[in-house]
Subunit: 196 residues, 4 copies
DNA sequence: CCCTAAGCGAGACGGTACGTCACGTCTTCCT
DNA sequence: AGGAAGACGTGACGTACCGTCTCGCTTAGGG
C-alpha cells in the first residue's frame, strides 16, 4: 500500500520536540522572536531537520499552533437552543482567549497569515474556514428550528461573530471577564438587532 | 519660537520619497519584502536618513499606509439617517478594499501589528482606535435620533462591524461586488437582528 | 583461512563505479567539487557504501587517481643507458601531464595532501615515495654502470628531478611540447652541471 | 585624485586583526581548520566584515601568508660569487622552512593554490613567479660573470632549484639540518652535474 | 532449507561551515 | 546641523557537506 517506505523513517519524537519548541518560543518571544535556529536549538535538533519537514517559519508556526487546539472538531454544541449554544461557544472562546499564552499563539497565526498568501490560504482551509462552516451550520439548524429568521444572511452573521472575536483578540489586551461581556453584547446585538 | 532650528532643515521631498518607496515595496513584495536598505535605495536616500525619521520598519510602514488613506479625518457621514450613513461608509470601504493594492497595504499593517505588541498599540492608537471611535460616535448619534435602540451595546456593535470587515479583508480574496453585498448583509443582520 | 567470509561479499562493480565517479567529479569540478554525496549519487550507490570502503574523501581521491595511473609498478626503464632512460621517463610523464584531465587529477592529489598531514603521509607512502625510490634506484644503477658520478648526491638529484616536475605541474599551464623541452633542459642541467 | 573617498573608510586595525587570526588558525589547525567563522570570531570581527574584504577562504589565506613573508623584495644576494649566493639563499630558506609555523603556512598556500586555478594564478603572480624571476636573474648575472655556463638552460635550472625546495617542503617533515644538507646537495648536483 | 551475517539503497539525523541578507549604529566627508 | 556613502557588529537565513544512524531488502555461506 505504502508505495515508498524506504530509508530511515522520520522520528515522531523529533516532530513533537520541534513543535513544542516552536510553541514555547512563540509564547515567550512572539512571532518575531521565533527563528529556525532557536527552534532547532531548543528542540535539541539540527537546523536541517527542521527544514526537512517545514519549508519556512510560517507553516511551522501554523502547524505548531493548530496542533495545540485542533482536536479536529470545531462543531458547536447543539442543545436545541441556538442562542444558548452560541453564547456557550463564545464564552468558551473568551476563556481560551483570555490566557496570555493562547493570545500569543493566535496572534502568531495572524502574523504568519499576514505575511504570506499561501500560508493564509492554508490556515483558512485548516482552521478559520472550518470554524466559519461550523458557526454557519449551527445558525442554519437554528433557522430550521424556527429560532433564527429564515431571511437572515447567515454568512454575514457568521462574519460578524468571528470578525468581532478576531478583532478583539488582535487589537486589545483585555481580561477574560471584559472579553466575555463584550462577546455577550455582540450576540445580543446581532440577535435582537440594534435598530428601533 | 521653534526651540532649535539650527543646521540644515530636513527635506520634505526626502520624506515623501521614503514614504512612496515604502508603499511601492509593500505593494510589490509585501511586508516581508520591505527592508530599510531597499526603501533607502529606492528613495535614493541614505539608510541613516530613514532611521533619522523612523525608529524602525513598523512605524514607517504604518505611516506610509496611513498617509495613503487617512486624510486624518475618520468621521462617518451624518446625513441624519444612521442606517444609510453606515451603509455608505461600508460601501466606501468595500471599494477601497477591493483593489489589490489596498489589500496589500492593509495586510501589511496587520502583519506589522501581529508581529510586535508595541507596533500593534501604535497602530491601534493612530488608526484602528480612531475608526472605532468614529463608528461608535455615529451610532450614538443614531441613538439620540431615535434610530438606534437606546439599550443597544454600541461598543459591541462596532466590534461586529469593524471585525467583519477586518475578517473578510484578511481571510479571503473577493471581488468588490461580493464584498459589498456581504457588508450590506452584515449591516442588515446587525440592525434588524437575526432571531425570530 | 580467510578468518570470516560470511555475509554478502562486497560488489566489485560498486567499487569500480565509485572510483570512476570520483575521477569524473575530480576532472569536472576539482578536489573541492568532489563530495561523498555526489560521488555516491553519480555512482548510483548509497553514501554508506562509500564510507564502508573509504574512511573519508582524501583516501578515496588518492585511490581513484592512483588506480588511473599506477599499474603498481613505478620502475624506470633500464636499457643500460641511464641518461636515455631518465629522458624517456620524463618524456612519458610530460605526455601524461599535458592532458587537462591528468593535470586535474594530479592537482587534486596535491590538494588532498596539502590540506591534511595524515593524507599527505598516506599519499607519500603510496605514490610519491615509490616514485622517489624508483628514480633513486635507477640513478644508483647508473652509478654502478659508471654513467653517474659515484660522489653524486643521488637523493638530492632525485629531489631536483621530481621537484621540477611537481613545480611545473602545479604552477603553470603549459603545452606538452613546452613541458617536454623544459624537462629535457632539467635533465641536461642536472647531468652536465651549469657551472663553468 | 581619489575619485571615491565617500563613506566610512575601512579600518586598518580590522584588516590586521583578520590576517593575524587567519595565520594563527593556519598554524594551529592547518588549511582545513580555517573557517571564515572562526577567523571572524578570533579577530573579534563580524563575519560579514571578512567577506567584505575577501571573497572566500583561499585569497584570504594567500594574503595572510604573503604578508608574513613578502617584504616585496625577493632579490637574491649578489656578492659576485653566484654559487655562494645561491647557497646562502637556499640556506636562508631552509632555516625559514624548518620552523613548524612556516611549514604550516607554506603548505596552506599550496592547499589554496591546489583548490582553485584563479587563486593559483594570483599566487604565482605575487609570489612564486617573483621568486622564479629572482633566481633566474641571479643565474644570468652569473653567466655574465663567467661563473655559469652560457649554454645552460637557466629556466630549467631554476625549476630544479625551486622545485626541489617545494617538493621537500610539501612531502616530508625534516629537521633544519637535514633540509640544509639536502639543499646543499641539490646545488652541488646542479652546478657540477652528476654524469661522469 | 532455513538461518545468520554482511552488503546495499534510501534517507533521516546532529553538526559545522558556507555565503547572503537585514537591522540599526557608527564614522567620514560634503553641503 | 542634514545628508550621502558605506563600514561595522549582530544574528537569521537557507543550503551543502560530513559522517553516523536506522530502516527494509538482497545475497551469500553455514548449519
Amino acid at each position: 500500500m505504502s508505495q515508498s517506505r524506504r530509508g530511515r523513517p522520520r522520528s515522531a519524537a523529533v516532530h513533537e520536540a520541534i513543535l513544542n519548541a516552536t510553541r514555547t518560543l512563540l509564547v515567550d518571544a512572539g512571532y518575531r522572536g521565533v527563528s529556525m535556529d532557536k527552534v532547532a536549538a531548543l528542540a535539541g535538533v539540527a537546523v536541517q531537520t527542521v527544514y526537512r519537514r517545514w519549508p519556512s517559519k510560517a507553516p511551522l508556526v501554523v502547524e505548531a499552533v493548530m496542533q495545540a487546539y485542533a482536536s479536529g472538531d470545531f462543531t458547536l454544541p447543539d442543545t436545541g437552543d441556538a442562542i444558548a449554544d452560541l453564547t456557550t461557544w463564545m464564552r468558551e472562546y473568551a476563556e481560551i482567549g483570555s490566557t496570555a499564552e493562547s493570545v500569543a499563539l493566535i496572534r502568531s497565526l495572524a502574523a504568519a497569515a499576514a505575511e504570506d498568501l499561501t500560508d493564509r490560504d492554508t490556515l483558512y482551509e485548516q482552521l478559520t474556514g472550518r470554524v466559519h462552516d461550523a458557526v454557519c451550520h449551527r445558525l442554519r439548524v437554528g433557522v430550521s428550528a424556527g429560532q433564527i429568521r429564515d431571511d437572515a444572511d447567515v454568512e454575514a452573521a457568521t462574519d460578524a461573530l468571528i470578525g468581532a472575536m478576531l478583532y478583539r483578540t488582535l487589537s486589545v489586551t483585555a481580561s477574560a471577564q471584559e472579553t466575555e461581556e463584550r462577546y455577550r453584547g455582540v450576540i445580543d446585538a446581532l440577535l435582537q438587532g440594534i435598530s428601533t
